[in-house]
């Protein structure tokens, strides 16, 4: 659509600008402010330069959380994107079952995140949970409060349960928007199912897949509530991801400076990776 130049449109954007500025700029300024100062209470602050940042980047605890976070996010993406895409491809495209599928699949997305944690907590209890008891009955030793592997398995399974539907719904929306003529032309051209997927569906789904990957990357990188309810970051700190680490530092430790520096680095990592991914996808497009 051709748009006209009109700077008075700012009046329409002003309410959004003010609300988001209030919510985003003031807190961010506070955080930046703390990150370069030191305090011993009494509202007295001293300039500390990049001390907190240097300290953070040398902090093993932070680096461990970051490493765990990267592994978690990568695992989740590797499972959810192909799984969501396959499920969407197998779904019926018309008929009464479409609505039923979509409604049931959206359900996990509307469960409060702490309830997701509680639900999987109950599910995974080794003595009375369906999953925990089931696995133990099969002879697989499972105890998510004691064994890191069990905890990781449960956390990842929980995230797959919680978020794969988002990928399914996005991909499904993309698939049904492909005109029938493409499928008919492919039939006439004698294309096998794989060729249909490779040359028709995948190219047309690129846009929604980009959105799906970006959303899943951002949200899994920020995961907090579900994990804190399910494992509390344990056993030990084996499922302590970045947000858990940060909240402990910010609310628990009164270490305003280090927590602020942590916040900034955390936010920047997400921005940088999202930007990198986005430009890579778009550069491919331009070629």
């Amino acid at each position: 659509m051709t748009k006209t130049q009109n700077n008075r449109a700012w009046w329409l954007v002003l309410p959004v600008f003010l609300m988001v500025a209030f919510n985003a700029l003031i807190p961010l300024m506070t955080v930046v402010n703390y990150s370069v100062q030191e305090t011993f209470g009494n509202n007295e602050f001293f300039w500390s330069g990049t001390t907190w940042f240097q300290q953070l980047l040398a902090d093993d605890q932070f680096l461990d959380s970051l490493r765990r976070q990267v592994i978690f996010t990568a695992t989740v993406l590797v499972i959810q994107i192909p799984l969501g895409l396959s499920i969407a491809l197998c779904m019926p495209r018309k008929g009464p079952w479409v609505s039923v599928c979509l409604v049931l699949m959206s359900l996990p997305l509307l469960v409060p995140w702490n309830v997701v944690g509680s639900m999987w907590n109950i599910m995974a209890l080794p003595d009375i949970g369906l999953l925990g008891k089931g696995l133990n009955a099969l002879g697989i030793p499972f105890n998510y409060t004691r064994q890191p592997i069990s905890a990781w398995f449960t956390v990842i399974l929980m995230d797959v349960w919680h978020w794969t539907s988002l990928v399914v719904l996005l991909c499904y929306a993309g698939i049904v928007s492909i005109p029938d003529a493409y499928y008919q032309a492919a039939k006439v051209d004698g294309a096998r199912p794989w060729a249909v997927f490779r040359h028709i569906q995948l190219p047309k789904l690129k846009h929604v897949l980009t959105i799906a990957i970006l959303l899943r990357f951002m949200d899994s990188f920020m995961i907090y509530t579900e994990v804190i309810v399910l494992t509390g970051g344990g056993p030990g700190s084996t499922t302590k991801f970045l947000s858990i680490d940060l909240v402990q530092k910010a609310l628990g430790g009164f270490d305003l400076g280090p927590a602020a520096a942590f916040s900034i680095v955390y936010f920047l990592i997400i921005l940088l990776l999202s930007w990198l991914f986005y430009t890579l996808m778009m550069r491919n497009e331009a070629k």
């Binding site: 748009k3 988001v20 807190p27 499920i87 779904m91 509307l110 409060p112 509680s118 951002m218 907090y224």
Partner: protein, 265 residues
């Protein structure tokens, strides 16, 4: 039935298992829960639900949640509408930068904002109010609403606006009487997403409230640590949180596929 339908079928069964288990637990007596593993409630009881519905600290928590979620949806959609219109129709100074800045807020981890939000809302005297949580959630809901609505609005031809102006409508009356009804599906989808993200969020909601506006997500955490004794209660509270979501989904069931395409595939 084609073999490939087994894939979504198995997936849906997988999705339903934890929900079944939650229901199962919520209808059991504490004795049965502590007694051992049972696939279905042997002694069916509504005791856990009765506890919740008779205890104001429990049921008011639901009310608090619904209040701030409703307020948030209202705020977000109301301010996003004119902004999305501006982005879909006009070029203006700094429009692209503003749009990206808005979207970048969706990338901000709530954990980063907890502490500054508590300080900010305490300093303006809003701590422990519904408004505080509703406003805090607009941080990620406004960008989302603007983005969704912009997608839907771009699909409406500009000729609609021009015809209305030629017919003598002023901007406000055109916007309210002609434009809004045209994109009502988009508004529904945007409201659905705002509702959804505000309803499921816990970290900010819990830390911005203490007593007067304590939401259900916070009320539940007090029981989550105690294993066994209050598991039935926790499960029942969890089941009750599924209801608003299920109702909302039921209403938008015919728009889900289109809605998730956010009007722009």
């Amino acid at each position: 039935m084609s073999k490939r339908y087994l894939v979504p079928l198995i997936y849906i069964i997988f999705l339903m298992l934890p929900i079944y288990w939650l229901l199962n637990m919520s209808f059991k007596t504490t004795n049965e829960i502590l007694g051992g593993f049972t696939l279905y409630p042997r002694e069916f009881t509504l005791a856990s639900y009765q506890t919740i519905l008779n205890d104001p600290t429990w049921y008011m928590a639901y009310v608090h949640s619904l209040v701030y979620v409703g307020l948030n949806t209202l705020f977000s959609v109301a301010v996003a509408l004119p902004a999305a219109y501006a982005f879909s129709r006009y070029h203006f100074l700094g429009d692209k930068h503003l749009f990206f800045w808005l979207l970048s807020n969706r990338m901000a981890p709530p954990a980063v904002f907890v502490l500054p939000f508590v300080q900010l809302y305490s300093s303006v005297g809003l701590f422990d109010t519904h408004i505080a949580v509703a406003l805090a959630h607009t941080l990620f809901n406004i960008p989302l609403a603007v983005w969704i609505l912009e997608g839907f609005m771009s699909g409406v031809p500009k000729e609609l606006d021009e015809t209305a102006y030629v017919d003598g409508y002023s901007f406000p009356s055109f916007f309210v009487r002609i434009f809004l009804p045209t994109i009502s599906a988009g508004i529904g989808v945007a409201a659905f997403f705002c509702f959804m993200f505000s309803w499921v969020e816990m970290l900010l909601a819990k830390n911005l409230t203490s007593v007067a506006a304590k939401p259900i997500v916070a009320a539940m955490t007090k029981t989550s640590s105690a294993s066994g004794y209050e598991l039935g209660l926790l499960a029942a509270a969890g089941v009750l949180t599924l209801i608003p979501g299920a109702i909302v989904i039921y209403f938008v069931r015919n728009y889900i596929a289109k809605g998730f395409a956010l009007g722009r595939v």
